[in-house]
């Protein structure tokens, strides 16, 4: 009898703790925070370095902080300028990430959809907005011990315009932006994660997906075209590609264990509105497919959603280690 009482006490303690964790886990963060001048300065520096590296005339570079004696980026840029003819580079060149004093300090996680925008809906009634928020909240909890700050664009079931998500990431000077989504694809046998970074696409399936995800964007076609043109010479695109590759690798590697039928749908480019407006390396990851009944079955299990969050965590860590490693190498 005493053993039953003791077990009851133990499980009861677990129940209270679980409830307490839910309360703690959903604590709302302020939607805007005080901008950090240092971070703006670093990004400004990065942009200037990129412009110089790509051969922008020196007169343009002189505007702003480039003349600061302690700034490392212009020094590298000037070495390049001295060793090559003083002409405009006609085509964008890949940027060497080692020249940037990058480090990962703040991540914005964007759970796709929410509120009246349910996103994809499985036959069982499971909605994309539920899954994305659940995975995001799990990821935030898992990232608690990480050496960087994590912000969520939404931490409850609320409607949030795509522009607001972009604005949130930009105004908080995030170093990374990760938008979580769940796919819906025909034929329904398709299953497997895929990760996008910004860029054009001519794949009809991706085009369909982009039009679905961008449905709530208030941008005009011209806005999108301008943004798309800009990203070709945008330094963050290479970082986004690296991040996408790292996350996709971890996600597929992790999820295919015990799930042999899973397909690696790879890393792709697409003009998603949230990827075009954000000013930091940004990706959109489709973690699973709500159109596939087997995937839906897995997604209803908390265990599987935890697995997805763990895979994303590993991807972020791996990317962060790479960046911080490079930074250490440079110092």
């Amino acid at each position: 009898m005493a053993r039953v009482e003791q077990t009851k006490l133990q499980v009861l303690r677990g129940a209270v703790q679980d409830n307490f964790d839910i309360l703690h886990g959903i604590k709302t963060r302020p939607t805007t925070e005080t901008p950090r001048p240092l971070r703006h300065w670093l990004w400004g520096l990065l942009l200037i370095a990129g412009m110089v590296y790509l051969g922008t005339p020196a007169s343009m570079v002189s505007i702003g902080k480039a003349s600061a004696p302690s700034a490392p980026a212009p020094v590298v840029a000037s070495v390049r300028a001295a060793s090559e003819p003083d002409v405009m580079v006609s085509r964008p060149q890949p940027l060497n990430r080692e020249i940037f004093p990058l480090s990962l300090k703040r991540i914005v996680i964007d759970p796709g959809h929410g509120g009246v925008q349910t996103g994809a809906v499985a036959e069982s009634g499971l909605t994309e907005k539920e899954v994305t928020l659940d995975v995001a909240l799990r990821l935030r909890r898992l990232l608690t011990d990480a050496p960087f700050e994590v912000l969520l664009t939404r931490d409850s079931d609320k409607t949030l315009a795509l522009e607001k998500r972009v604005e949130f990431a930009n105004s908080n000077s995030a170093d990374l932006f990760i938008s979580i989504h769940v796919n819906w694809m025909e034929p329904r046998t398709i299953r497997g994660p895929e990760t996008f970074f910004v860029g054009p696409t001519d794949d009809p399936l991706t085009m369909k997906l982009v039009s679905m995800e961008n449905r709530d964007s208030k941008h005009s076609f011209v806005d999108l075209r301008h943004a798309l043109d800009k990203i070709y010479i945008d330094a963050r695109r290479n970082e986004s590609r690296t991040l996408a590759k790292t996350i996709q690798g971890q996600l597929y590697g992790f999820l295919k264990q015990g799930n042999a039928a899973l397909e690696n749908r790879g890393v792709k480019t697409a003009p998603f509105a949230v990827l075009m407006g954000t000013q930091m390396p940004a990706i959109l990851v489709e973690v699973s497919c709500l159109s596939n009944s087997e995937e839906v079955k897995l997604l209803t299990k908390g265990e599987y959603r935890e697995k997805i969050a763990l895979a994303l965590l590993d991807g972020i860590r791996s990317y962060a280690n790479n960046i911080n490693g490079l930074q250490r190498k440079g110092t």
Binding site: L9, Q10, L12, I22, I26, V116, S124, T127, T300, G302
Partner: protein
Amino acid sequence: MEESNENLCVGIDLGTSRSSISASNGERYVIDSYVGWPVDMVARKLVKKQVLVGREALDNRPMLELRRPLERGIIKEGSQKDEEAVQEILRHLIALVGLKQKSKNRPKVRAVIGVPAEAFRVSKQRLRGVMEGIADSVMLVSEPFAVAYGMEALLHALVIDIGAGTADFCVMQGRYPTEEDQRTLPNAGDSIDDQLSKVVAERYPDAQFTIHMIRAWKEKWSYVGQPQGRVMITTPVKGKATELDITDELRVACESILPPLTETMLDLLSKVTPDYQENVRNNVILAGGTSLIAGLPEAVQKYLGELGGGRATIVKDPVFAGSDGGLAIARDASPSDWEKLSLV
């Protein structure tokens, strides 16, 4: 632990089809999870109420904007009206056990609410929000866990709580169940209704019936395995009351939940430490309204036989097992626990 006139403990099983409440003052009630608002002034005059809850709402449905606000055991997403409807159900349940919201000497309400085993965090958050102003402190637990706690089946037991919206599974291993110990399936009472509706329409294309009639037939005659007799129902066919035989259709519909049920059972059993798998197989407990399907424990037990033998039993009171378990949890939690989970 602490029981006084200042506190009232309640256990609530908020179900997609029916909701039950068990209170520490000895009161127990079950209601249909329906809420209706009169559609116009005429309807309001006839029903003489601003809002109707439970059977009363169901019986007056032609005059009401009727809501069944819970879906898969949680509040339907994206609708303010459904949130309001859940609030009405909870208010109604609390009033049934003798509590008036605005009474001066109203005791503090400590509520334990059962939710599906794998309910999303966001759904739990919404439910807590809805409880504000109705209870003072709220604890949310998985439905099968509440059943297990109430029965003190805390070690080597598998509880399967089959309701209307979901079938919830929970393996008890002497600790608070983790996500790995629990599963939720959408294959439950409602999916049987959908299936029954489909097969009856296929066999009798001219028969006229509603989902409420389908539910009533299922609740009266549902079975798996061998029928006890022919199931004859009376329903209009092209406007004329006609007697129809739905025996086979009923079995097909009811047995449609067996494959996912046994598959999930096997999945959970295989994750139990091998030393204890036999103990768990011998302690499979069925609860929830849909577990009342005739022949279900036998069908589950037959399947357990294929796994090496086992025993499936049905709880004594499937309708109140969840809310009674919730009440037991509410009573056993300490005042400091309740303090931590306060809504204020």
